[in-house]
Symmetry: D2
Subunit: 358 residues, 4 copies
């Protein structure tokens, strides 16, 4: 099950320490000129080694497109792409091959398949998200073409939280710091916290907030294809993601209906809502307001300190992370959240084309 999407679909492949990560984009509509450098730029945003708060593993992560384009224009046929793996030291993982790292997928892959590629987490590595970033970067160009804008930012690192709702922050400020937090002062606190925790060989969790603007009312399907459920599945499939909510989300639980109902109003012939606690989706279908959501991430499981565990024979052992790992996954996960949102939205937009007969 390495396919995501219904009409616009990414089928991906690749292990952390194999030859390459790549995939096939199917259902790409014909006739849009793609900015391939913009796709590469999204990969660069995801790439490790960007700053002091990310892993130092350094790879160029250049994407090569193999099909589906003619003079840069999509032809409607599938786009195959590969990103070669370059700089890795398999020796870092020799010890890991013999033991199950705590809170990693080592044990579950072994249980499922009877064998596993222990080098760098194999298929379960965060490097596999490279394919998603490519698919998302292509999708967002289509979406931009119809006025849909997607962005995400770090809203929590450890116990440091952004206090205000999404609309209080400036999108343009997000990329101004390594943490990808739109509030410069809080970003600075987050960065200091990450560095402190990194120095201790420890790791941190966090939360990313995503925003999607410009979706026309009517996108999303009932029952098996509710837009927020598709978004939720997409976000939860990101490595280390442990929770998803949208609109007021979990904060709805202690609210009264009278306090959070989104009253409809008519403004210049267009129906909107006076508030947007629903998060832009009602009954699984977009209502035209901003879609906003949160994704919770656990702390990175690989610590740079000795951790007790068992080996593949079930004997007690101690393991210590030696590869290059981020102390906090959140800053680099921001472009991945955006990518998954873009994949989901383009898919939903194309699906919605079949809603009405004429």
């Amino acid at each position: 099950m390495n396919t995501i999407g219904n009409i616009y679909r990414l089928t991906s492949f690749g292990e952390s320490h194999g030859a390459a990560i790549g995939g096939v984009l199917d259902g790409v509509p014909a006739g849009l000129e793609l900015d391939l450098e913009a796709v590469q730029a999204e990969l660069d945003r995801r790439r490790p080694g960007q700053s002091a708060i990310t892993t130092a593993r350094s790879e160029s992560d250049r994407v090569e497109f193999l099909s589906g384009l003619l003079n840069g224009v999509t032809t409607g046929t599938p786009i195959g792409f590969v990103v070669r793996n370059e700089n890795y030291n398999s020796d870092d993982y020799t010890a890991m091959a013999a033991a199950f790292r705590p809170s990693h997928a080592d044990y579950t892959y072994m249980a499922k398949y009877g064998l596993r590629d222990a080098r760098g987490g194999g298929r379960a590595s965060a490097r596999a998200t490279i394919a998603r970033v490519v698919a998302g970067a292509v999708a967002r160009q289509f979406l931009a073409n119809i006025g849909i804008d997607i962005y995400a930012y770090t809203s929590q690192v450890g116990d440091i939280r952004l206090p205000l709702p999404y609309y209080a922050y400036d999108k343009a400020a997000i990329e101004r710091n390594a943490v990808r937090c739109p509030d410069a002062a809080i970003a600075e606190q987050m960065e200091q916290l990450i560095l402190r925790v990194k120095a201790e060989g420890d790791t941190l969790g966090g939360v990313i907030t995503g925003v999607i603007k410009g979706v026309k009312p009517g996108v999303g399907e009932p029952e098996g294809g509710k837009l927020h459920a598709m978004l939720g599945a997409a976000m939860l499939s990101i490595n280390a993601a442990k929770g998803f909510d949208y609109g007021l989300g979990f904060d709805f639980a202690d609210k009264r209906g009278s306090a959070v109902a989104d009253r409809f109003v008519s403004t210049e012939g267009r129906i909107t809502t006076a508030t947007n606690n629903s998060g832009g989706i009602q009954g699984g279908i977009a209502n035209g307001e901003d879609i906003y959501f949160r994704v919770a991430f656990k702390p990175v499981a690989t610590l740079m300190r000795p951790m007790p565990t068992v080996d593949t024979e079930g004997r007690d052992t101690v393991i210590e992370g030696k590869g290059r790992h981020d102390p906090c996954v959140v800053p680099r996960a921001v472009p991945i959240v955006e990518a998954m949102a873009a994949i989901t939205l383009l898919d939903a937009v194309l699906m919605a084309r079949a809603s009405r007969w004429q």
Copy 2:
């Protein structure tokens, strides 16, 4: 997109005030004797009119099975089923047809399809969950047969929360009160709160906690079929659901990796984890520990008091709920959460059969 699942699949149909709700269960493995009364019993748990805290709409909701069984044993062919709609008053909804109820799917359905069945929310009605409950009740019999146990309970209503983790509560206590909360004292508080809010014509949100025990390590697929992402999509597709997390979920965000890593230990030749912050899933694949998760629900959108909104022409109007609606969806959503968990797990168990060659 009214199909849920990959191998074990529910394709459902039906509107609140149409002739019937029903569906087709496909991929039902052959050879299990089903307890059809147990399926009906699950429907009875979902049925309105059970207590003072639920809507008084009274329907028998009897399920009729039309195929796929021979002397009560599954034959491997699809199980068609219908539940007739009986007791409803379409007049309650006449006013609603002309206006868009706040925070309901009235407007989005109209935007999507160009017309809508305004009677009782049509397809977006919570009555559509009847089909899911049937599918779940069938699935849980298969799962019970291989030692998988699923249950859920109300863990929050408004600002009243259960303070302890799931394992601190007794499953047997859940059904002893109308709220479906395993702590009798807190259940009593929740019930009083619901009655108070109901008297005000208002509604309340809440949270349900779900638990799945006995899943063998190896169930769940990488990338496009991660078990928690499938669970998340299933839960988020329930009416009024706004959030999902599993394991520590959003509480992971402010934790350090060293504090929450689930150390592997070997007990009597079986590998388990010393703690279970991960919630039984690592890398999208079950590790054999308990799976536990939360689902957040918003307050019911229909209030029994006047609410300003616009009509289908965009003119200001006022609407007041007249149908029968729960003041809090959570108690009756408990069996639906269980049903969606069962559907997802049976599907994942069957998918996992193809993981290894031999």
Copy 3:
């Protein structure tokens, strides 16, 4: 796998001697007023007991629609439907339960599922095609709305063949005889042959030719969704179907390229082909010419004479058909071929909506 289609999808259920045959039509676009009597009329065309050449089993086969319609107009939500089984005598099948009928699916169902519903062929019965006829009758109304016309006719019964290509025959003549052959004289020969063979307790094979007119160029997908491959799969899934070809089909094998190339010509600004040996599809995509194809059917497997076989224990036995069976499936399969063509085409038309970005 009881679902057919990608966007317009039929998920069906039902055994010959169970309570009902039915299904769910999903992906029905919103906004078309359906003529429900026309759907019933298609079922009537399929119904047994129409003439001396079909089985005398008599059922009213009335379809009941349960959802997805508002004042007869499609709402975009799924259409559930059921056709109750009425008149059958399970006793006819008692002997059959103990033995495997030659060339029937009795043995394979038992091998696959470990048990089987032996009454009347269970799920493998031709009665299961009822659901397809309903789905096809709905689809053809959408197609008629955009100028696509579908029809089929009997072109061979036993060794009696229609000598001319499809365009030599009058569509209006097809329904004038019980055989559904547009040449009255040949139809009479076919009918006599069927009656003669029936009198001998024997059965006959045949061929149906299908025609689809008015498909716009561009319908059909590359590789995994070629229009003729989808049509072929649809036709081959009909009970007793053993072969499919389109355009010149098997007759292409002994032709030279120079003799059968379909030269493009431009007529009044529209590009057409001077000949249509390709059968309206090139590279899996419709080119705007008529699509025509053939479906081969084997003789009905149930003979009204003693046949040696083995029982479920592998012991030699003799079985004799006692139920009501057609001596030749072809006349009653004509509406089923049309139905499958309509399902396939509507699906392909909806899929093609995502081909181009703008």
Copy 4:
């Protein structure tokens, strides 16, 4: 729709004159050691330039595997692969870009997508079958591991036909001649015919017969997944395929039921059929007998002689094939037919794992 299969799935990409052809194999069960040279050997069988009767276009067509293998053993994760395009002369196609070649997909791709990659047929080129051959070569190793053997041979070229049923011919004789026909004398006639027609700048159609041995009873699904319908769709999706039948196929049409019923017999405790007119499948499910089928191919559409057509503006023009094209596709399509059969069977075998509960 560039995905084929349900559990074992090939998602492919690539144009004739783009950078590469490739794909992703998903659903590959873990734990089988693959012979990668055997995969390459299948590609070599498909490669052009093998003999005087095929195109002289010469490419090494080396497949590179990018993931999913550990020391040659499948890990259960997807296998990405690419085959680079090397030797082509785009100039050969300059004229073709301006005109629609008769009986080619030039016009339909343009009609569908609004633009097309005119170089060598783009995605509609037979080079796209490279991905299928790789997927098939992997699948057949799994199948061989459980005793399933697949082979195909040329049974008709132009008007020269093999007169006997499949079991009269020796599988080992197939690869002894360039035509891939198991009867040496008839192969010689076929080869002479092809060379004669080639000298005239013309092309020829033909038929391939496929055989699948060793499938266990019970493989195949009812209704939407009938084994022969899946096989048929797979075969019809091959370039230039125009027809498919299995068992007696179209020859059933003029037979009586009494003459072709496959009587069950019990031999040493195993139930088999005395004859095998059904072609090893009954009700869409394998009965354990040999599966055999035919695929009809039209003559190659590109002739090495002037052909009248229209250009993209609809003006009359003349086109003459200048690229390298086979005069008869059939000999090189033999490994493709085998590949499609292997993909379909492995998929069906894996699907059948979910048929029974225990």
